[in-house]
């Protein structure tokens, strides 16, 4: 099989290594591996400006989401509040640093780095592709994108607000704070951003400028 022809029309399944002939897909359709059912590719709808808008709005929500109170407890006249950031540090302070690190990484650092990485990638794609330094930076960012997007667990944190508020409502009155709203918005915007983002498309943008 000729090398170039193979590279253009054949792809390999990442889970089972089956060679599959690539075909054009209508939009909104995903190609699955015929042997093992793993998602192979879809038609990317990846508008750079749309992603930039989503990324900036996610960053706007990021700081209030992490540093404004998310839950408020009213207990015999005293009011206690907590933020997502304090939550991670409270466990850390008790000596459970493994748990603290896990919470901090999944809820604060992961999303923050992911958003910053996507923002930098978009800015490089828009203005910096002609410089070698920026192309290399983009390459490094794209290599770490998979890890960062796996580290981001905003959806689970949103559910955990719900669970902990129900659990604590057994003891006293619980109120949601402004942070809860911002965190939920951060989750929604990041969700749409990640739907819009297509890693393969970003790689081809980098390739196309060689």
């Amino acid at each position: 099989m000729h090398e170039n022809a193979a590279e253009n029309s054949v792809i390999l399944c990442r889970s089972c290594d089956l060679a599959v002939r690539k075909r054009a897909l209508p939009s909104g359709v995903r190609a699955l591996c015929p042997r093992c059912g793993t998602a192979l590719y879809d038609t990317p709808y990846c508008s750079v400006n749309g992603m930039l808008a989503l990324c900036i709005s996610a960053l706007v929500f990021y700081f209030p989401a992490n540093f404004l109170p998310v839950l408020e407890i009213h207990f015999f006249g005293s009011i206690r509040t907590t933020t997502v950031f304090q939550g991670a540090f409270a466990v850390f302070d008790q000596g459970y640093w493994v748990v603290g690190l896990a919470v901090l990484a999944a809820a604060v650092i992961g999303p923050g780095l992911l958003l910053l990485s996507i923002l930098t990638q978009i800015l490089i794609v828009k203005w910096g592709l002609s410089r070698l330094f920026w192309r290399n930076s983009l390459k490094q960012l794209l290599k770490f994108h998979g890890v960062l997007s796996q580290l981001t667990m905003l959806e689970i944190y949103v559910i955990s607000f719900l669970v902990s508020s129900f659990q604590l409502s057994d003891f006293s009155d619980i109120y949601f704070g402004m942070g809860t709203f911002c965190f939920t918005m951060l989750f929604l915007v990041t969700l749409f951003l990640q739907r819009e983002y297509d890693l393969e498309h970003m790689w081809t943008l980098l390739e196309g400028h060689r």
Partner: protein, 205 residues
């Protein structure tokens, strides 16, 4: 066309999914190291999985939270916490917590060991079903973090000394490690090994 990449001299980059010729040692696009098959990943995955299975025991028998309510101290394991939720008429929440902290870790560990056994000992189980199961495990694995998030919120919020006070307890660390290790075990495994081993016997499954 039932050919595998390694038969036609092609190799997919694990990092950026670029198609490369198998004679190359590093990916042309992202310069990551290329492996046609990563046989050592099977051992790594087994090691991580066994460690996780061992840690699952302390995670379940030791208390995960310590709650002081008006002078009375209550130690809750994962399971007794859920029972407490059921008794206080919060069945939907109990189901969510049960799924995230008991069902998911067990499914992950049992599922991954079936998967690894099928590769290591050539057990003829339908490969397609195994692969679907593997993708489900990869996806649901992260949901176990729910319990840790709930603990961290509760601990930060409820600190009123003898009146009402929540603190994490030893099982929390073990549980965090179970999640981390099982996620890593699924991530390091080269799933292409499964499809090589069983290939000669049945091609259709």
């Amino acid at each position: 066309m039932k050919q595998q990449g390694k038969d036609i001299g092609l190799c997919l980059c694990k990092v950026c999914r670029q198609l490369n010729s198998s004679d190359l040692t590093h990916c042309q696009r992202c310069e990551a190291e290329l492996h046609v098959r990563d046989y050592s990943s099977l051992q790594k995955s087994w090691a991580l999985l066994i460690t996780a299975a061992i840690l699952l025991v302390p995670a379940n028998i030791y208390p995960i939270t310590m709650l002081t309510n008006q002078g009375q101290v209550r130690h809750d394991t994962i399971f007794s916490g859920i029972l407490h939720l059921v008794h206080s008429d919060m069945l939907p929440i109990a189901i969510i917590v049960f799924t995230a902290s008991i069902l998911v870790p067990w499914i992950k560990i049992i599922g991954l060991s079936i998967y690894l056994c099928a590769i290591s000992f050539d057990i003829p189980i339908s490969k397609k079903k195994l692969m679907v199961g593997f993708h489900i495990i990869e996806w649901i694995g992260r949901w176990s973090m729910l319990d840790l998030f709930v603990i961290s919120i509760t601990v930060a919020l409820v600190n009123m000394g003898q009146l009402l006070d929540a603190k994490p307890a030893p099982a929390a660390t073990a549980f965090a490690l179970v999640i981390l290790l099982t996620q890593l075990a699924a991530k390091v495994l080269d799933t292409r090994l499964l499809w090589d081993r069983l290939e000669p016997q049945d091609d259709t499954n």
